[in-house]
Symmetry: C2
Subunit: 298 residues, 2 copies
């Protein structure tokens, strides 16, 4: 598959995901200001990497995307957006810019931002529970998502991140932090695709190895970008890691050390794909998605 | 059934719920400080009314409580506790006391309190997804819980409450606010009991009517208590509704008007129970639980 095919896939499904998100948010009958605050951040034009990963895995393994898979993908974006809103709060990272716009609490106030996040998190599960899929699959997906996002996953990583500010973490600690904070949800995205595809546990495990490596690469790449790019390019405040004494890969390993760690992670992902290929799964989308980290897409 | 039986039921199952909660929290392998903050608020000794409602409905309809039902009940307390932690935040109701102890953010700081709430909310769903029940039941329960707690339920009510401060709501608006903010989760508790019991839709609907009336009575009673009792009795700051220009039933209807509204809600609940009785369901626990609002238990 060439680059054009991934781009076509991405463009097509990003549009469908955005339509699903818009439709879901519009259908909500709750407090108007709450729904407005939720929609503001969800529809701020993110890249939709997590939903696209769900669909790419699913498509690479089965060649098709069902309505149920779209719901699984789009509901994940609600959950991801909640995490951005809460991370940006004054008591957390205190950020004013996100996805090129003012952060949620800057527009709607701090109370509304907490509540918009709470609602997005809750409704991610509510929406996922309505997915047009066998009940057993839905329960497995919800269990995996809760595990990835909760006290043993993303929230745990965010807590470690906040507590780790102003103290130098060891590389192993930083890896553990990122495995939870960023990695867990990207891993879930891949695993969800495998569950949707009805993959055997052997295939699911290889997809999980790919997902872990993808998540690690994603965080290292993000750290490197934070050091080397501008606010306009990123649509959010950059160089903030340094200012806030955050622990990062470039901080620990230097830029070239971080680039080497990124290359290693990509190598791990490629190895998993090689094993999948030997089992009859070519996985062209997942292969091309690794191009994201070559600076071809930001 | 006499009062002693309800007390025995309550004591027995409150102990089991607390054991389940303690065990679940202890099993979490996430960031130690995060789990500590979560446990602090969950194990602060609440009355466990919502989980007990789940089990009372289930027991009144089937005469038994399964392990799966206990998980459904206990996971609801995680979600309820998250809502208390976030409601108490400085940007929300800014409370220092809850369940007789310092609020979460007073002990662990504001960032940790947001995260502890986020994790409790997320893990409520994660835990519920592991309940030893048929998948179809679990999916229905998760859908109902998400609906009750999210953008069309509890969070919507909290948003209306915050926006409604300093402006006088009409009675219908106040009722709608409370139906979402407090009522939705109590209603879910009753509905969950009916789902666990495998009740017919006719029975489930009557339980829902009981749950709606119970939720309304609960809020009116709470408003009355806030006006008439002391901080020591309540374990949280009282008379705050007035100070913060919150809309309340006594504020709108006066104390005696509020007491009348309470009596009406209890009458509605009793009517639903009467219909259940005519269909062969005596529901002694649900009948006696209405005694909560007679000031017999606080």
């Amino acid at each position: 598959m060439n680059r054009t095919k991934l781009e076509k896939f991405t463009r097509h499904y990003r549009t469908l995901i955005n339509q699903d998100l818009q439709q879901y948010l519009t259908s909500l009958t709750g407090n108007v200001n709450l729904v407005k605050a939720m929609s503001y951040s969800v529809m701020a034009g993110g890249k939709r990497i997590r939903p696209l990963l769900v669909l790419a895995v699913c498509h690479d393994l089965t060649g098709e995307i069902t309505e149920g898979a779209l719901t699984v993908a789009a509901s994940l974006e609600l959950l991801h957006t909640y995490s951005l809103i809460h991370d940006d709060l004054p008591e957390m990272d205190n950020d004013d810019l996100r996805r090129g716009r003012l952060t949620n609490h800057k527009v709607f106030g701090q109370a509304a931002a907490v509540l918009a996040g709470d609602a997005l998190l809750t409704n991610a599960f509510a929406w996922l529970a309505t997915a047009d899929l066998p009940s057993g699959e839905v329960v497995k997906l919800i269990g995996c998502l809760g595990q990835a996002a909760g006290a043993e996953g993303m929230v745990s990583g965010q807590m470690s991140d906040i507590l780790g500010e102003n103290q130098k973490l060891k590389l192993a600690e930083l890896q553990q932090l990122h495995r939870q904070k960023t990695g867990a949800l990207l891993l879930y995205a891949c695993q969800a695709g495998a569950i949707l595809a009805g993959a055997s546990s052997k295939i699911e495990n290889l997809i999980i190895i790919y997902g872990q490596a993808f998540g690690l690469a994603f965080q290292i790449y993000d750290d490197i970008l934070d050091e080397t790019s501008t606010t306009v390019e990123q649509g959010k405040r950059v160089h903030k890691d340094q200012t806030e004494h955050k622990n990062t890969y470039p901080g620990l390993l230097g830029i070239s050390g971080a680039q080497e760690a990124l290359a290693q992670a990509l190598e791990q992902a490629a190895e998993a794909l090689e094993k999948l290929r030997s089992l009859g799964y070519e996985c062209p989308l997942l292969k091309d998605m690794l191009g994201y980290f070559a600076g071809e897409k930001k």
